[in-house]
């Protein structure tokens, strides 16, 4: 057997080849995986008493959406909590993004600002969102402030660091070329600076979205009276684990949808000029590499 890297499709007789291709097609492989996950979940539910089964969780979620009671507790309040959380998340995200962009431009443009703020930014990057959740709850109590500020504090360093990178990425060669052709300032800003930065802006925004969503949940879990995080905790404290798991799933689905259907396509579009001539390896930020699998655990 010779050593080889990623295997090419094997040669078989035409009819067998067709069946085999159908079974091993990418989409079939993915579906197989999801089925495996569901089966695994169900198995786990049978094994572990506290683990709710897929069906139970689904049923519960349905009731949270529509109404009726769950062991004496009023349900049907899905939208109340969900929208509150989304609202807090959005506000915090916008503010965190703006702050991050401003700081990022400063750090990227001025060497002095960079030496001033860079290390501090690294420390802020390293601070887990849960710490901000604790601090803001202790400072601001159980209102809307804690979740919003947690989002801001947790997300802005990621934006800043990425924007700073983007600013630094505008190559001096292209600047020289613009000098040689005497390009006016405004045109330079629009066609040279902005597009160079926009890719990094997107990466920063994507990180901010994921961290921010995490953050709002943590803040609500530890110190709110409504919202997705609070509701999840509510069910957990009541030992109603299907409720708890159900809300966690809502939380996950939201971010998957947001990231998969909004953020990634936008990022791909922003980076479409990076594609190779041969069309292989997009370079648009969505291949299966470490750098592109966004870390939500951060």
């Amino acid at each position: 057997m010779t050593a080889s890297t990623a295997a090419a499709p094997t040669q078989t007789s035409p009819r067998r080849g067709k069946i085999r291709r159908a079974l091993t097609a990418d989409w079939a492989a993915r579906i197989t995986f999801y089925v495996a996950v569901l089966v695994g979940w169900q198995l786990l539910a049978w094994q572990v008493a506290r683990m709710p089964a897929p069906w139970e969780t689904l049923d519960f979620l349905f009731r949270e959406l529509t109404g009726g009671s769950q062991g004496g507790v009023v349900t049907g309040v899905f939208w109340d909590h969900f929208l509150v959380t989304v609202q807090r998340f959005s506000i915090g995200l916008v503010v965190g993004f703006v702050i991050g962009v401003i700081l990022g431009i400063g750090i990227g443009t001025f060497r002095f600002v960079k030496s001033l703020l860079n290390d501090i930014m690294l420390v802020f990057l390293a601070l887990p969102a849960v710490i901000w959740a604790f601090l803001t709850v202790m400072w601001f109590g159980l209102g809307w402030e804690a979740p919003v500020y947690t989002v801001i504090l947790a997300s802005f360093p990621f934006v800043a660091v990425n924007v700073a990178q983007g600013v630094r990425a505008v190559s001096p060669e292209l600047h020289d070329m613009s000098d040689a052709f005497r390009i006016p300032r405004q045109r330079r800003l629009r066609h040279l600076m902005l597009p160079a930065i926009s890719g990094y802006l997107f990466t920063g925004l994507r990180f901010a979205v994921i961290i921010g969503w995490n953050a709002v949940l943590l803040a609500e879990w530890f110190g709110s009276t409504n919202g997705v995080g609070w509701r999840a905790r509510f069910w957990y404290d009541a030992a109603r684990y299907r409720g708890f798991l159900g809300w966690v799933i809502v939380f996950i689905i939201f971010i998957f949808l947001l990231d998969g259907f909004v953020m990634r396509p936008l990022q791909r579009r922003a980076f479409r000029w990076r594609r190779d001539r041969d069309g292989g390896g997009d370079g648009d930020g969505t291949e299966l590499t470490i750098d592109n699998v966004v870390v939500m655990g951060v």
Binding site: E173, D179, A180, F181, I183, W273, R275
Partner: protein
Amino acid sequence: MATLTVKDLTKTFPAVGKGGQPVKAIGGISFEMSGQVFVSLVGPSGCGKSTLLNIVSGVDTPTSGSVAVTHDGRPAHLGYVFQDPRLLPWRTVIQNMRYVSDLEEDEARANARRYLDMVGLAHAEDMYPGQLSGGMQQRVGIARAFSVGPDLLLMDEPFSHLDAITARSLREQLQEMWNETKKTVLFVTHDVMEAVQLSNRIITLAHGGTLFDDTPIDLPFPRKASDPEFAQHQARLLGRFEDMEAERSTASRSN
């Protein structure tokens, strides 16, 4: 068409780091060129060719002396072609052409298309630089420089990063465009053969940025490398290079 006048030009770079020496890139050059001429600037590495081009284009400033680029008395319009294409990677070919143009939208497009056509890339106008080969990108760079309608065209070793075959075809294309548009061209190269092929005047610089040689080449275009007179010019120039090396080594031995 423009007039370029360089008078007693020097350029010294300040010292770098502790204990460094100031670096004299250009040590007093004077020459003049005007009209439909293709002037090549040749010389060994470190003789100040690129620095001179930077100063002429205004990207850098002289330490002393003067450089004047005029067209009918007023400051001239410049075009620049670099060693690497320097296209905005996030803009399509035609958008890159429009980036350097001061014309109105429709005029700019039409103008751009005209020059892209001249380099044979009219079909590529909506492609991104990343989708083009090195030679194609460089062609766009050339079309871009021509398209701003410059009076003086500056070219800094534009073919040095390309393979021999692509370089050859681009040289031919450049020659045709020069014939058609009648520009003043200052062309920097380290390749003597390229200089003899393209130019009607060759200026040679020595180490330390001084003028070493200034020769007109009177052969008719297009030129063939197999032509004996071509070979003569080339041999002569290479001989001058050897003289230059000899002078340099005796000078350094006596120091």
